[in-house]
Each structure stands twice: as C-alpha cells, then as structure tokens.
Amino acid sequence: MTNIEIEGTKQTPAISFNASTGVLKLSGRSIPENTFEFFNPVLLWLDEYNLVAKDETIINVKLEYFNTSSSKYILEIFKRLKGILNDGKKVSVKWYYDEDDEEMMETGEDYQDVSGLPFEILVIED
C-alpha cells in the first residue's frame, strides 16, 4: 500500500505514515476549519493499514497546538491504532512536548488515559 506524506501548513499538520516501516509521524499545528476533509483520508489509510500492519507500529506525535475539532480526530487515529493493538500487534505512542508547555504534556496524559494505548510522554530535545 502507499504511504502518506503531507507537508505541514499554517493550518494543517505534517503527516508521514509509512506502511512499510510502521513508523507514523504527526507534527506541527492542526487548526483547519474543515477537520473532516483533512483527517478523513488519514483515517481511511489507517483502516487499510490495519489489514497489513507491521508487527510493531510507532506513532510520533509532536504537535505545537491544535483546535478542539482536531482533537477528536487525533483520538480517532489512536482508536484505529488500538484496534491494531487488540489484534495482538505492538503499538506505541511517543508524545512529544516543549519543556515549558505543560498543557501539551497534560493533553498527552489525557490521550493516554482515553485511548488505552501505551504512551511515552517525552520532552522535545533541541
């Protein structure tokens, strides 16, 4: 299957989902008005990936900030990954935050709690 490579803009995050390595990356800012339009292809990709998922999938999340309508879709991404975990494969989340951005750290904890995925919450090293 094909990979997703989307460059970040002022309104949308950079996305790099690689089906052959199982390494997924989501970074930047996510504040589009039309979140469905942006995230739906990503969710569909994950549905497809689910069928051919690597033994180990890692998602690196390094977001600067995002709006609340994106937050729902970010959870949806995690829920799709939870499905892969439930199939007996390894899935983990690396959630990065700026040292002084306590809220982004707390948001990571919120997602960890709600998604039920194994999380590592890490400070971004310069």
Partner: protein, 180 residues
C-alpha cells in the same frame, strides 16, 4: 469624525486588535499572524503566547461555525466581532456574534456548567466529552468551552442580549493571566 479621539481611546484601552466582519478561513490565518508578530514584539512568554493562540483559534472557529447572519434578508453576511486587549494583569479575548435565541438556554447551561468546575473536574469532563461525543465538523461547542476554560484558568464571562424574537447577541470574554 474624530479619528484622533478614537485612536487615543484604543491606545488607552490597550487594544491589540479589533475586528468586525465575517470570519473567514483567511481572516483566521491573518489574525494569528498579526498576533504572533505582536506578541513576539512584546516579548511575551511562550506559555502565555500559546494559551492566547489556542483560545483565539477556538474563539474564531466558534465565530466561523456558529455566527448567525444579522437578518434573514442577508443570509450571506455573518458579521461578528473579535477584540484583543490587555491590562497589567491579563490579556482579554472578547467575541460577539448573533445566535438564534432558541439556542441561548443550551449555550448558557454549557458555560455555567464549565464555570462551576475547578481544574481537576474540568479535566475529567474534558476526557469524558472527548471520548463520548460524536465527531462533528464544527468541533462541538462543548469541548471548545471546556478547552478555553482549562487554558484560561479563569471563569468565562458571558452575556446575552436579545435583539428580537429570533436573534440574540452573544458576548464572550476570556482572560489569560500574564504571569502564567
């Protein structure tokens, strides 16, 4: 026409940005750009800047999705207002827009519920709504209000003014402490 008087009033009230009109996608980007450069110029702390940004985005997207036109004849004009100013203690983001009067009780309940909660309860409520609410493209005002209250760390101030039977004007003021 005394522009100088109005200019001075804006200076005295420390108005950073004042906008009236339709909030479009381009306006959102532009306002954020303006704010970024103004806050950088003021050498504002990263944490405060991020809070202002987050709340501003949420406020503008509420206006983008929920502002009603002022009258039925001009369905296309969805005028709203956005203002940013500060004093010694706080930054303030205020918004104003028309909403359907029928929606006032529900919105009022939502804000009051959020305002009644302290930090930990807000967090619990946020997790609950994040997990349970149906995805809507409009983001769902629930999560937006909770998020703004969490990031602001202050109570949300609001007011409704009845315009006529159908429409009301909704004013919202969100505060961000400078010593965050």
């Amino acid at each position: 026409m005394n522009v100088y008087t109005r200019f001075k009033a804006m200076m005295d009230n420390h108005i950073i940005l004042s906008f009236k009109g339709e909030i479009t996608s381009d306006i959102v980007t532009m306002v954020l750009q303006i704010m970024e450069s103004k806050l950088d110029a003021a050498q504002e702390k990263g944490t405060v800047k991020k809070k202002i940004f987050n709340i501003l985005v949420e406020c503008m997207q509420n206006l983008y999705h929920h502002a009603e036109p002022e009258n039925e004849q001009e369905r296309s004009i969805r005028s709203a207002m956005l203002e940013l100013f500060f004093d010694n203690e706080f930054y303030y983001i205020t918004t104003g827009n028309f909403i359907k009067s029928a929606e006032v009780p529900r919105l009022k309940d939502r804000i009051e519920r959020v305002n009644a909660m302290e930090k930990d309860d807000l967090r619990k409520y946020y997790r609950e709504i994040l997990d349970n609410n149906i995805i809507s493209n409009k983001g769902g005002a629930d999560l937006g209000m909770i998020d703004m209250a969490r990031k602001s760390g202050q109570k949300l101030e609001f007011e409704f003014n009845e315009v006529n039977e159908i429409l009301s004007f909704f004013s919202l003021k969100v505060k961000i402490a400078k010593n965050n």
